[in-house]
Symmetry: C2
Subunit: 361 residues, 2 copies
């Protein structure tokens, strides 16, 4: 949360996709650019699992955002033309209600008493901000990674509410490989001696589990090819080398990332969002992907994938593009040769920028 964060407080109960309810919620969001008179130039960006609403810097908050090179005046998502909106996901811990928030009924953090979350809930909570801004139809919805799942949940729940949709390094549901990875990340967290069934404290943080989860995340977010080029078998001399500690550069790289992440993200929020990603299936109502797109979208779709992505492999973006095409939608599909794997959309702007700019032209 920073100086540009805005908040929307909902005091009515919020019914969740799986039947439980929240007594109310707070949504943290940011926006860039100006909404035009007809409110027809709004672009909604859904985030991946860990980023918050601060997708880009602004006058009010000069701190670079998680998609800084993508959003701004003259950038691929051009804030001179568009009103860009990003909401911290329900269940996260960057201003929006989630397991780390205080349950108003008990005065204590929700932690594991938070009801089970579905990706559909993230879409519905975000909808409240869009309605608050009285935007009826979005110019575009953009979703990378988990954000792509949320974008699909959005289409499912609010058909024909976006003129364009961009599904980036995402899928209609997770592969068993991705489920296995996330299952291990969660196991590392819940078995941490400090996790204490969700009753961890600031002084005894489940740091070991969060570090393991983050490192395993990094292994699947990047690619073996990138690391062979970037680190090879070079030794590290940044941390003291111990027998089973760090010897190689790839190990100190993971360590540095893990240390940075530990304090930034709440373990319970991580668990809830991670599990929601496993459970999401755009076709869980037994509606085929084609039928879902046919009833929910007629505009211009952009589907981007990366050859080296092991978490959301290219085949999954091909499937999305094919299903969209089969409904008669205009589809721009790009299989990008980035070496950075799943994370490429966060770093390889040279490859991701142009197709996004072109699609919005």
């Amino acid at each position: 949360m920073g100086p540009a964060t805005r908040y929307l407080d909902i005091t009515e109960p919020f019914l969740l996709y799986r039947g439980e309810k929240l007594p109310g919620l707070r949504l943290a969001w940011e926006c860039w650019g100006k909404l035009d008179q007809k409110k027809s130039n709004a672009i909604l960006i859904f985030t991946g699992l860990s980023p918050g609403a601060h997708a880009a810097s602004s006058e009010r908050d000069p701190e670079p955002g998680w998609w800084e090179e993508m959003i701004g005046p003259g950038k691929p998502i051009d804030t001179d033309r568009f009103f860009v909106l990003c909401v911290n996901s329900l269940g996260s811990c960057m201003g929006t209600t989630g397991p780390a928030s205080i349950n108003p009924e008990t005065g204590k953090p929700w932690r594991l008493s938070f009801p089970e979350l579905a990706i559909e809930d993230l879409a519905r909570a975000t909808r409240l901000v869009v309605e608050h801004l009285e935007i009826e139809k979005l110019h575009a919805v953009i979703g990378p990674s988990m954000g792509g799942l949320t974008a699909m949940a959005w289409l499912k729940l609010f058909p024909m509410s976006a003129e364009r949709v961009a599904l980036i390094s995402t899928a209609c549901s997770a592969t068993p490989f991705a489920i296995a990875i996330r299952s291990l990340q969660r196991e590392a967290i819940v078995t941490d001696r400090n996790f204490k069934n969700g009753q961890y404290t600031e002084d005894d943080w489940p740091e070991v589990g969060m570090r393991l989860a983050r490192k395993l995340g990094m292994i699947t977010y990047r690619s073996a090819k990138e690391w062979s080029q970037r680190f090879g078998r070079r030794r590290q001399d940044y941390f003291p080398a111990t027998l089973f500690g760090m010897r190689f550069e790839v190990e100190s790289y993971l360590e540095t990332h893990a240390r940075k992440f530990v304090g930034q993200f709440d373990p319970c929020c991580y668990l809830y969002l991670s599990r929601a990603m496993d459970l999401f299936d755009a076709c869980d109502s037994d509606e085929s992907l084609k039928a879902l797109f046919a009833r929910s979208f007629t505009g211009h779709a952009l589907v981007l994938g990366v050859e080296t992505d092991i978490l959301f492999p290219l085949q999954q973006q091909q499937d999305l593009a094919r299903a969209l095409e089969s409904t008669g939608s205009e589809v721009s599909y790009h299989a990008l040769p980035s070496v950075q794997g799943h994370d490429a959309f966060l770093v390889d702007f040279e490859r991701f920028g142009p197709p996004i700019a072109e699609w919005l032209e």
Copy 2:
């Protein structure tokens, strides 16, 4: 260890590759078939990280071995023709001396006081059994996975001592991706609350860390493609389903494997062998791979790799085959389309059997 295990006890000090020494050692081994009069029909099999010397059943031990379908009368490694030898690796815990053994000088298990191991030490310890049997030249050396590293260490240390060599799903050194995976496995073990810097007890076993390490192992031993076909998104009903516990079949599959492994392998042995794999580099003496093969081998080499292997990717077997070919050796190279990833050599006998049988003909 079973009724067919034989032991060789060495009472002299054993000098290790990195300069330390063991006061002596015990080697557990098994053999099948008959050594011919000239002792010219011996095949030495090096194992992967976790299997012991029991590679196949025999009259003395009818329990199926880890390569049961590969070794036996009329099988690809035909014990009617060959004398087959398999030694439990130095550093392991299935009869051979390792960190789980008693240090004779203290009367207590070595655990973390065991000296650092190199793959070269595994080759040199195995050599003691070969010398004990008075075999001067091996008909063949076969090494899958870690066993392939040991086979290369063997060539490095004992040039021209094998007429044939088979390098299976292996490499001349580990990729940074493989190092990262093993680094995480080790971190999961050493951060387990019961690990206690190696002072774990039977009653408080570092089970959580071993389970995580094994599950992460399984993720990299098999392939995403196999799991998509085998499990898809099917739910499991074998274990009680909890919010962050097991919901999907792929999760209960990993759980079953992890439970089986926990009691079977010593955590410290795992750490030492795992690190030795990272550190091994066939070219660490600044000798190129080509130069190494040129001075150590002139026979018929077999190199097998699997398209879906992410731990020892196909490129690494291609590199081995190319280096061997460049020395003028006869090389049979097969890139197998098995879906089972790195573990395919343990399960896909339909694909692995014929090239091995052919190479030995």
